[in-house]
Symmetry: C2
Subunit: 433 residues, 2 copies
């Protein structure tokens, strides 16, 4: 049963802390094991990859190569219906359209007096690796969400790694890759896949950035290779927070809470409402809806451990509570969502109004479903085209421009005791000897 409590409860802060701190413990055994796997892959390349893939995914290296060939991918087409294919295609189109809006332009500006030019150049990354989980958490939609922003940015080489337990590929994942034209696909998962992408092996050329969700081994490996390559974000368990007023349909709210809870036992689903009547009704509806769910066991555990209904005196206080949590997904199931928006400081994606369920945003609306989790929306942002570009500053000075600033450079470099810095300007303008 979901717990109902209020902002004025004496143990409010402790209850919130349980939700906020879930999944934050570092596992030193995982750290050690991941470190060893990464080093092994770095030193032994393909041989290590085959060994781990046999051990963890039961993939026989005699039967399967590291690469998944075009024939295997093509064969998956027949296992996906035309309606499924078309739905994936339409989702891809929406996602592409939204991310096109995020494109950045190179700009330069010339000073009309000195002729100096300053600017910022934007280029796509050369190569990106996308980690796609295998087995039960293999989601075709994740392929679209991770790859399309990279394609819009103009990344030329997009590599996909996906574990294939027992050698079995997930047809939906393969078709999603095929639909996007991704052809470099490896049968790799876990820390060993991250090692291959970061260091390279005989078969897998290294990439500049690794994105995509994974289990604790994958997340730990990504953290460890950060700096050698870039990574998308440090992901934790996911959450939804719904702010609802008395006009919200309690069953809609209940189902939306459960659509987070069904993902993962560590997921958190929180309703904050100014209506105790709605709180009661949602609590009842959750129980009714739980009974209908195939993933009932997961959802129930998530609701019991990290679910909460919080009754707040008003919507402004509800927004303040939301800001404390900085949720990955925030629904504003209220009569005036665009008014309430101005009080919201941190949230990955904001679903506004009574008709906008999180699932719409997860699949077809267009915005990315890779979002900052576990309170990191305070400083991280949804995956976007920005994650797949690099910028360079451009600086061009004329002789006249240099003369104008020479004195200041000399003064400032002297303050910092960096003589060659100063001399690089003074010598050019004739002050040096």
């Amino acid at each position: 049963m979901i717990q109902i409590f209020s902002r004025s409860d004496r143990d409010f802060d402790e209850k919130l802390a349980v939700i906020r701190n879930r999944g934050q413990s570092l596992d030193s055994a995982v750290e050690k094991s991941v470190g060893e796997i990464l080093e092994d892959v770095r030193l032994n390349g393909d041989e290590a990859l085959k060994r781990y893939t046999q051990k963890f995914d039961s993939v026989d290296p005699e039967t399967y190569g590291i690469s998944i060939d075009a024939g295997t991918v093509e064969a998956c087409r027949s296992e996906v219906s035309a309606r499924q294919y078309d739905a994936l295609q339409r989702a891809a189109d929406s996602i592409r359209a939204f991310h096109e809006r995020q494109r950045r332009q190179t700009w330069i500006e010339q000073d009309s007096v000195t002729g100096n030019i300053l600017g910022q150049r934007v280029l796509p990354l050369d190569s990106v690796g996308i980690y796609v989980p295998g087995g039960k958490a293999a989601y075709p939609s994740s392929v679209l969400m991770n790859a399309i922003p990279a394609q819009v940015a103009g990344v030329e080489r997009i590599v996909m790694v996906v574990p294939t337990p027992g050698g079995e590929v997930n047809p939906g994942v393969m078709v999603a890759a095929h639909l996007l034209g991704i052809t470099e696909i490896y049968r790799l998962g876990g820390a060993q896949a991250i090692g291959a992408l970061a260091y390279g092996t005989e078969t897998v050329a290294p990439v500049d950035k690794i994105v995509g969700p994974g289990n604790i081994y994958v997340a730990t490996a990504k953290r460890k290779v950060f700096g050698r390559v870039d990574i998308d974000m440090i992901a934790g368990p996911s959450e939804i927070l719904i702010i609802a007023d008395e006009g919200a349909d309690p069953r809609h709210v209940a189902i939306d809470l459960l659509s987070q809870a069904e993902h993962d036992e560590m997921a958190s689903s929180i309703l904050v409402t100014n209506s105790s009547k709605l709180a009661e009704k949602v609590s009842v509806a959750i129980e009714e809806e739980l009974a209908l769910l195939p993933r009932q066991a997961i959802a129930r555990k998530s609701i019991d451990d990290y679910g909460a209904i919080i009754v707040a005196p008003d919507l402004l206080e509800a927004a303040r509570i939301s800001n404390l949590i900085a949720p990955e997904h925030l629904e504003l199931a209220v009569a005036e969502p665009f008014w309430l928006l101005h009080t919201i400081k941190s949230a990955g994606a904001i679903f506004m109004g009574y008709h906008t369920s999180e699932a719409v945003g997860d699949y077809v609306a267009g915005p990315n479903h890779v979002l900052p989790t576990g309170g990191t929306a305070r400083f991280f942002s949804p995956l976007s085209v920005d994650d797949f570009i690099k910028k360079s500053s451009l600086i061009y000075y004329t002789q006249a421009g240099l003369e104008e600033v020479a004195r200041d450079v000399e003064i400032l470099t002297a303050m910092e005791g960096l003589d060659a810095h100063g001399r690089s300007v003074s010598y050019r303008v004739g002050d040096g000897t």
Copy 2:
């Protein structure tokens, strides 16, 4: 003496590897020590801060508080000349003007048929901590470069931490902070400063992001708290690469190489040229200029260990070599720098033409001098306003909009076995029961 070699040398790759891999070894003793300090600060707050500050910086907690008060900052004004103050002010103005160009706008778009709204909201981070090194590497210009992009982004709380060995503050650093209106300043350095900013103590409220350069302890601490807060980048030793043709002045090139080398023994200074005549002349000029430098010992060690002049057959090959290194600073000291630019893939800042010394960009031109080092320009970018904002996706669906996509959401959620996701839409449009 700087070594001269060519692309066709048999050991070219090994020589380049020495430069590229410098400073990449992880120090497990540092790791362990930093982990202990962070945990101590997390658990013991101010008491731990005072203990470490006394131990590492010889600052007596009876004499000095953790905060640096307004009076101390104000008193530094008299130690900085009017010319110095004005030079800092003009540099700040240029930096602000450049970074104003990087501002991002919130956007929304409404579908004229369904009324659906999609958008991306941009907000500043709430709070940012800026680490400023103390002692000999205390640079007022770093205060400007780290704080101004945060101010342009609109960050309300900007906190500065700076170690004060023996209790001594650096007047230039204090005046730079004063000039920008930064008033929350703490007498803290090392891993303990990072711990205070990430976890908070009785005196120091935690921040959302930590930026700024530091030694190996600071860098390791930043990596460890990444995810709890955001950090700017994983910084390594810095470098300059100059591509020069026969039209370049050998002495300008030599001084610019040395302006990198004087920073740090681990710095790398590389000239790539298509003129063996220039190569010889620069080599001679380096020796002459070295003799004039107060920081000669540091610069010579850097030049000897990680300096190189590479003779390439032509400028395109020079650009390819630069792309292998992905330098922090790249000078194109060639007749047609804007032509050569299109061949350059990765570089933090690009200084174009014969008159644009790196030092101009480091101080007064306006672009940021916090740049990706050690080859990370392949995927990292200069510090910018983008580093101080967070984005949220905005999604508003109407009933008509939801009906239009309901079937696709049902198909895709069924493919992924996420029933509550599907039901959140089907129930709303009347397909559920």
